[in-house]
Amino acid sequence: MNLIKNMRAKLALVVMSLLSAKAFAHYPILNCKLGSNPESPSEVVCEASFSNLAKAPNVIMEVYSEDDELISEGHTDDNSIYTFERPDGVYFIIMDAGPGHVLEISDEEVVEI
């Protein structure tokens, strides 16, 4: 029964992907890692993309502290990457790709390698 349920789930993806050739909304995705660069282990590397597998180069990136102080700001590079030094304490990363396409994640969602 579980197998069938699982299959149904995956088939939904298939059928929806058939429709999605014509439906076109997408949402921003941030994939951030800490320690992926052995030379600077305290660097957070974020890759920005969208749910339709498109990359997100040149989008606004901002990092805030728990007290809402702006710690770091800039844009993703041509490879859709944005890097910054890990701040002390709790922090939040914002990816701003325009109206309706703004995403914030917290340091809890940064993967430590």
Binding site: K5, A9, L11, K22, Y27, I94, P99, L103
Partner: protein, 599 residues
């Protein structure tokens, strides 16, 4: 192959070698592994091991060439009479919307390349299913609705992914590679094939000889076609599974994001509720910008940050009819971006050319469209016959070999015969027969689920977040993992859930953006996942954190056009009060259910 020859001594041999010699001596000569024989063995192997599936792919592909025409024949809603000039395709869509108020209509297909075919849009049903609505492009009158899975659509989907979850497309693409291998090995094993083009099948000979002749004759004449299908299929095989599963590097340019509205664009609209242009005005704006562009698909924005997208064609060589796109500001008609085939890099154009070549759609419209499709259909049929005849040839050889092998008593013979068919080795398919059967079973299950999907919504499933007042609106939410996953827990840590919003009171037009988020948004700048979609299908794909804390809340934030923010929250998990598990409620209403108390 040794397994094959075990039960069927004459299997796997080129015909010349398998025949008894002139003196009637049945003793087979010792076979040398020549290039011919090796090619023949490979050719038989690929043609047989997955022959059932291969035939399904080829036959559905052949029928799918005429998918559109099949629908035209089957459904009266699809047929229209040509009468004078067509309306502006945006106006046709506008009139369709006028006739169906309060219904979510998206993905409008204009039928601008057809004279006698209705335009259509996809209609979202309030409970999550969908249908196609057909409209006369000459008068703008709605002709009726059909299922989403029309006969043609069914054939196309079956051919494209066998209704198989996840891996379907990759499985089909494997056959593209097998086509190429079959082509090469077939030619190597057919001695002096270049002299055989006019060797017609011997009609008077016994069926086995005739089928063999036919197989070779059709194979030779459809070489060019098998090459096209093989190359295009293999090209896609490279992308899926090889690139998809990280086995091979991607060489195509990365996908770029579609142009969208900027903060500046939205600010320029002022603080009142803006009125978007009609689809007619959008089409006029595009046609003024580029008079040569023929619109084929109209995609209205799904939320207020998106552009109105028009896909169409400028008849660039070997592109699909939606190969070029314009992105229009839905409020001003300004063309804010374009993705045109002529600007695409050469490698993308090569990639795009695979579709029209494979599907035979490059005739575009009128006589040439039907001509190319007819040629594609005929040669598709030839390929199907190649597959089926190859299968029959081998089965007959197996049968005669089996007869020789089974000469003992009646009952014993039958048991032995059944064993020869069932056992995982020997016979043309050996252990692969189980794979074929398994795939066919999965396809059948997939088809039945596919049909359920189009009619079955998600109502009465998942978690319901009961209606609450948020500013001037009254809104409820419904969480499900997805259309087909309504029986599963909608909130699962680390997975994305689909949240549908239902506005019961208040003016939906006054909402600029509506967001949902697990946990209270820290800032108004990023209040969560934006709700989008057509009327009746406003939804957001909301990521659930990897750890869901106890007492977690689901927050709804509305930003209105006048710049105000309104917020409300529900308990993320069912609390029996504002948040309920509809599945448990349903179970509780069923007298025989074991979960009666849990609701």
């Amino acid at each position: 192959m040794s397994a094959d020859t075990h039960a069927t001594p004459d299997l796997g041999l080129p015909e010349q070698e398998a025949k008894p010699n002139a003196k009637g001596n049945n003793k087979t000569r010792k076979k040398k592994l020549t290039a011919h024989r090796a090619a023949y063995l490979i050719h038989s192997f690929i043609g047989l091991k997955l022959s059932l599936l291969f035939s399904v792919v080829l036959i559905t592909g052949t029928l799918a060439v005429f998918a559109e025409e099949l629908d035209w024949l089957f459904y009266s809603e699809v047929r229209v009479e040509a009468q004078g000039e067509k309306l502006n395709s945006g106006e046709v869509f506008d009139r369709m919307k006028e006739q169906m108020p309060g219904v979510g209509l998206t993905a409008f297909s204009t039928a601008n390349d057809r004279q006698y075919t209705a335009a259509n849009a996809i209609m979202t049903l309030p409970d999550g299913g969908f249908k196609k609505v057909w409209v006369d492009p000459y008068t703008g009158e709605v002709q009726g609705t059909t299922n989403f899975l029309t006969v043609g659509e069914f054939m196309s989907i079956l051919h494209k992914n066998l209704f198989m979850p996840l891996i379907g497309r990759a499985v089909v693409n494997v056959f593209g590679v097998l086509c190429l291998i079959g082509l090469v090995t077939g030619l190597i094993s057919y001695r002096k094939f270049w002299k055989q083009f006019f060797k017609f099948p011997r009609w008077n000979a016994n069926p086995r000889v005739f089928l063999g002749d036919l197989h070779k004759f059709l194979g030779l004449w459809s070489l060019w076609f098998v090459l096209i299908i093989g190359v295009t299929g293999s090209w896609w095989f490279y992308q899926n599974p090889l690139v998809n599963y990280g086995v091979a590097p991607q060489f195509l340019p990365e996908r770029t994001i579609d142009p969208a509205l900027t903060k500046h664009d939205l600010k320029a609209l002022g603080k009142g509720i803006p009125t978007p242009l009609s689809s007619k005005e959008i089409i006029e704006a595009v046609q003024e910008h580029d008079p040569e562009f023929i619109p084929h698909f109209l995609n209205p924005p799904e939320h207020n940050g998106m552009a109105y997208t028009i896909h169409g064609t400028k008849h660039d060589l070997l592109t699909m009819k939606w190969g070029s796109s314009y992105f229009v500001n839905p409020y001003t008609g300004e063309v804010i971006g374009a993705k045109l085939a002529k600007d695409a890099p050469a490698i993308s154009r090569v990639d795009w050319s695979m579709r029209p070549l494979h599907y035979g759609t490059f005739g575009y419209d009128g006589f040439w469209d039907l001509f190319v499709k007819t040629v594609w259909f005929i040669f598709g049929l030839a390929m199907s016959i190649l597959s089926v005849s190859g299968m029959i040839i081998f089965y007959q050889r197996t049968k005669s070999a089996t007869k020789k092998a089974v000469n003992s008593g009646r009952v014993q013979g039958k048991i032995k015969k059944a064993w020869l068919i069932m056992r995982p080795w020997g016979g043309p398919m050996s252990g692969f027969k189980y794979l074929n059967w398994a795939f066919l079973t999965v396809i059948c299950i997939g088809i039945s689920i596919g049909f359920k999907l189009q009619s079955e919504g998600t109502s009465g499933s998942g978690y319901q977040y009961k209606a609450q007042d948020v500013g001037p609106w009254n809104i409820s939410l419904n969480a499900t993992l997805g259309l087909l996953e309504k029986d599963l827990d909608p909130i699962q840590a680390g997975r994305t859930t689909t949240l549908n919003a239902f506005i019961h009171e208040g003016n939906p037009e006054a909402i600029k953006f509506m967001y949902v988020k697990v946990g209270k948004p820290r800032t108004k700048r990023a209040p969560g996942a934006v709700l989008h979609g057509s009327v009746g299908n406003q939804h957001a794909h909301t990521p659930i954190p990897k750890t869901v804390k106890e007492g977690a809340e689901l927050w709804l934030t509305i930003e209105s056009w006048d710049g105000e923010f309104y917020q409300t929250a529900w308990s993320l998990m069912p609390d029996g009060n504002a948040t309920v598990d509809l599945r448990e409620e349903q179970a509780a209403n069923t007298p025989t259910s074991k979960n009666e108390i849990s609701g």
